[in-house]
């Protein structure tokens, strides 16, 4: 088997997969769940239930608020207690639906049995519609609505579906456990995705530190007899699981600045997404739960849990024996890209992949010193950027220079910060610069759109335009 990886940058943190041998346990529903209306990239969903309504598991509680948006389903059965702003894990208010749990009654039509359904429906449009109605979003971290990704713009053609099972973030083991325990479902999900994209070949990319998963998935593919699906063993390297890096590693193609993966003929979906696609298409089950690793050296009871969306963090921690004394920081997600949780009352989202506990010693930042121009950050950057320069430009908020130096291409992987010997919080600073550059690009696009529309409107209003005026409107 060939071992592949992406071409530039990257770092090698210790993988620390402490919870790799913990089987997936099912977490009983919490007494109250909170379903956030912004669990995906794009417009927030709009609630379609009212306070006092009875809901069942799998029932739609919110509909998409725009084209790039997703349905949200109740993950429990019970009564809607309130709809209103509630603080998310970072303490910022987000619109939430609060549901008091009563029993566990599922909506009719959802197949809750364990039976593997391998027969894939032939109508691709119906499949995409099913995925849309099931509220499936990318579970690799970005939570981009899957049905949008599966409907490429006209003129672009998909050549390969990549299932991302790299799990290159240290500590995380949820994708690994899903591959081991639900490998069949993931493979069928992959087959569905490759059929939808036009019967293209499919690669399941797994890093070499998960030999059991590689063996198991290869076996499953052979057993189920899928010809177009192959397993690719990847070298261990962070951030291999990032979309652009994975396409580079698997297909040796570079996705341009601001371009989508489909521009080079690739569609990347996470292992969790493939499972959710299987559930949606074969079992009629909307995305109401996901697998979460609860881990960290100081956490005595490591676990991989199947958690209903909207479960409060505190409930999960209490279920596993409470907060360890030594824990100084709780992170939602991995240690490289995860977000620190400042509010444990916050609830899980569709894209939450882990709860990680770090001690004071592990998380304490070393004092920042001056940049010594060693260039380690530039070596580590998988996007080929110059973090030392970008952080300087970010500090002085020079938007033009930031854009010229491609700050908008930063994927916020944190390799620069990880590799900096001067302990400069490069990513934290660059993130503000990236915001400026993206803001400028978006403002320009919006202005161009408005100008084009105004010109169109002016033309429509005046069919016979005097030449001099036409010139002005073009300006």
């Amino acid at each position: 088997m060939s071992r592949s990886t992406f071409s530039i940058g990257g770092v090698h943190p210790h993988d620390n997969k402490l919870s790799r041998d913990c089987r997936i346990e099912v977490l009983p529903p919490a007494p109250t769940v909170f379903l956030a209306m912004s669990q995906h990239i794009g417009a927030p969903a709009k609630p379609v239930v009212a306070v006092g309504d009875k809901v069942k598991v799998g029932q739609v509680v919110a509909e998409p608020g725009g084209f790039v948006s997703a349905f949200i389903h109740s993950s429990v059965s019970g009564t809607v207690k309130s709809i209103g702003p509630r603080k998310d894990l970072a303490g910022n208010p987000v619109n939430c639906i609060e549901i008091a749990v009563e029993g566990d009654e599922w909506l009719e039509g959802i197949d809750t049995s364990d039976k593997l359904v391998t027969e894939i429906p032939s109508d691709n449009k119906a499949i995409i519609e099913k995925i849309r109605l099931a509220g499936v979003v990318g579970l690799g971290g970005a939570t981009f609505p899957t049905h949008v990704k599966l409907s490429p713009p006209p003129g672009s053609k998909c050549e390969r579906v990549i299932i991302n099972g790299c799990e290159c973030e240290p500590y995380l083991t949820s994708d690994y456990r899903v591959l081991l325990e639900k490998g069949e479902q993931v493979v069928v999900g992959a087959a569905i995705l490759s059929q939808v994209m036009g019967n293209v070949p499919c690669t399941i990319a797994i890093e070499e530190n998960k030999p059991e998963a590689i063996a198991h998935v290869s076996e499953v593919i052979a057993k189920l007899g899928y010809k177009g699906i192959e397993v690719m063993v990847m070298k261990m390297r962070y951030p291999q699981g990032s979309e652009k890096q994975l396409i580079d590693a698997v297909m040796h193609r570079q996705v341009g600045s601001g371009a989508l993966p489909i521009s080079v003929g690739a569609v990347v979906q996470n292992v969790g997404t493939a499972l959710a696609v299987y559930d949606a298409v074969q079992k009629n089950k909307p995305l109401i739960d996901n697998t979460l690793s609860v881990t960290g050296e100081c956490f005595p009871r490591q676990a991989n849990l199947l958690v209903r969306v909207g479960t409060p963090f505190q409930y999960i921690i209490d279920f596993l024996g409470g907060m360890p004394k030594e824990a100084a920081k709780v992170i939602s997600g991995g240690p490289m890209m995860g977000k620190a949780v400042s509010n444990l009352e916050a609830a899980t989202l569709k894209g939450t992949s882990a709860l990680l506990f770090l001690t004071e010693k592990q998380t304490r930042r070393a004092p920042e010193s001056a940049c010594i121009r060693c260039g380690k950050c530039a070596d580590a950057c998988p996007m080929g950027l110059e973090p030392f320069l970008l952080q300087k430009l970010s500090r002085i908020a020079d938007t033009e220079a930031l854009e010229a130096n491609a700050a908008q291409d930063c994927i916020e992987c944190g390799c620069c910060l990880y590799s900096c010997p001067a302990h400069i919080p490069l990513l934290d600073i660059i993130r503000t610069g990236k915001g400026l550059a993206l803001g400028a690009i978006r403002a320009r696009a919006a202005a161009a759109k408005a100008a084009a529309e105004a010109a169109k409107a002016a033309e429509a209003a005046k069919p016979s335009v005097i030449p001099s005026e036409a010139k002005e409107s073009k300006k």
Binding site: K87, A90, G91, P93, K339, S342, E368, P425, R431, T432
Partner: protein, 305 residues
């Protein structure tokens, strides 16, 4: 030896004169015609190049002012009315005097009022902190305390008070250029009219949470109870998103709202005497009593008729 020195001096001198002549001719031939008033205007500007006027610097302001048909929308906050009068005189425009402004910090979440609920150990910048999360207190609207506003101020008018953890404005130095307003990611700092002899009333809170949540997060929060709105007889206070806001144009500085505010979120500054809350409350009660009596007598009269 002497010969060499003389020759050297002579050649260099001739060369210098020749090149000077060339430069002179070129400067004459390619001279850029510029409105002399730009220089004049620039001369009367403060020369701080702070950008408070919205232009890149004093020269850019002068160029724009000379080109503009009038001075509406052009104002140098640093120089104030004096400089603008001079600019207007040079350009022959008319300019309306503007009330002098000052930066006001709309947060009173001191360390005592607003307990810290988590520890922030990241980069000491409000902008970075705001991009990461809502802050180290339970209030997601208040001051983050990293001092981006202090760094943005070119006039040394802002400083962090180590005791309260909040920025303090030195009114004698503040030029109302607005750099701090732009630097604050939480939009806490506001430019307000200085007021007569510096006296003004303002709500020092921007928390939009509902009352109980706001109060839990900060003892000095505006809880949106609306007592000030009811108390104000000048219609100067509006309640929006659970926060009161005092319109400086309508405020008559009676300080009644300040006396009635249950959390002390309303602050009056530069008043000659400290606020006697009881006296003001007595005054309000008296007025209410009179109003009630008047109403009753009106009713009686109506009944008689």
């Amino acid at each position: 030896m002497t010969n060499t020195i003389i020759w050297t001096i002579a050649i260099i001198t001739v060369l210098g004169l020749l090149l000077a002549l060339v430069l002179y001719l070129v400067a004459k031939k390619f001279k850029v015609e510029e409105d002399p008033r730009i220089d004049e205007v620039e001369k009367v500007m403060p020369g701080a190049n702070c950008g408070g006027c919205g232009f890149a610097g004093c020269r850019a302001f002068a160029e724009a002012a000379v080109k503009a048909p009038d001075l509406d929308g052009h104002f140098c906050p640093v120089g104030g009315n004096d400089v603008m009068a001079k600019v207007a005189a040079i350009l022959g425009y008319e300019v309306k005097a503007k009330a002098p402004q000052v930066a006001v910090v709309r947060c009173n979440g001191t360390c005592a009022n607003r307990p810290v609920v988590n520890e922030y150990d990241g980069f000491a910048s409000c902008k970075v902190k705001a991009a990461l999360y809502s802050g180290d207190t339970a209030c997601s609207f208040g001051c983050l305390g990293c001092g981006d506003c202090v760094a943005a101020c070119q006039f040394g008018a802002l400083s962090m008070d180590p005791e309260t953890g909040l920025p303090v404005v030195d009114e004698s130095k503040c030029t109302a250029c607005g750099a701090c307003v732009k630097a604050c990611p939480k939009r806490i700092i506001e430019l307000r009219p200085k007021g007569p002899r510096g006296m003004r009333e303002s709500v020092r809170c921007v928390n939009q949470d509902k009352g109980p949540a706001a109060r839990k997060a900060c003892a000095a929060a505006c809880i949106g109870c609306g007592i000030c709105v009811k108390t104000c007889t000048h219609d100067a206070i509006v309640l929006e998103n659970n926060v009161a806001y005092i319109d400086p144009a309508k405020c008559k500085l009676c300080r009644e709202c300040e006396a009635m505010c249950p959390t002390g979120a309303i602050h009056g500054v530069n008043f000659p005497k400290p606020l006697d809350k009881e006296a003001v409350k007595a005054r309000i009660n008296e007025r209410k009593k009179k109003a009630a009596e008047a109403k009753e007598s009106d009713k009686k009269e109506a009944a008689h008729e």
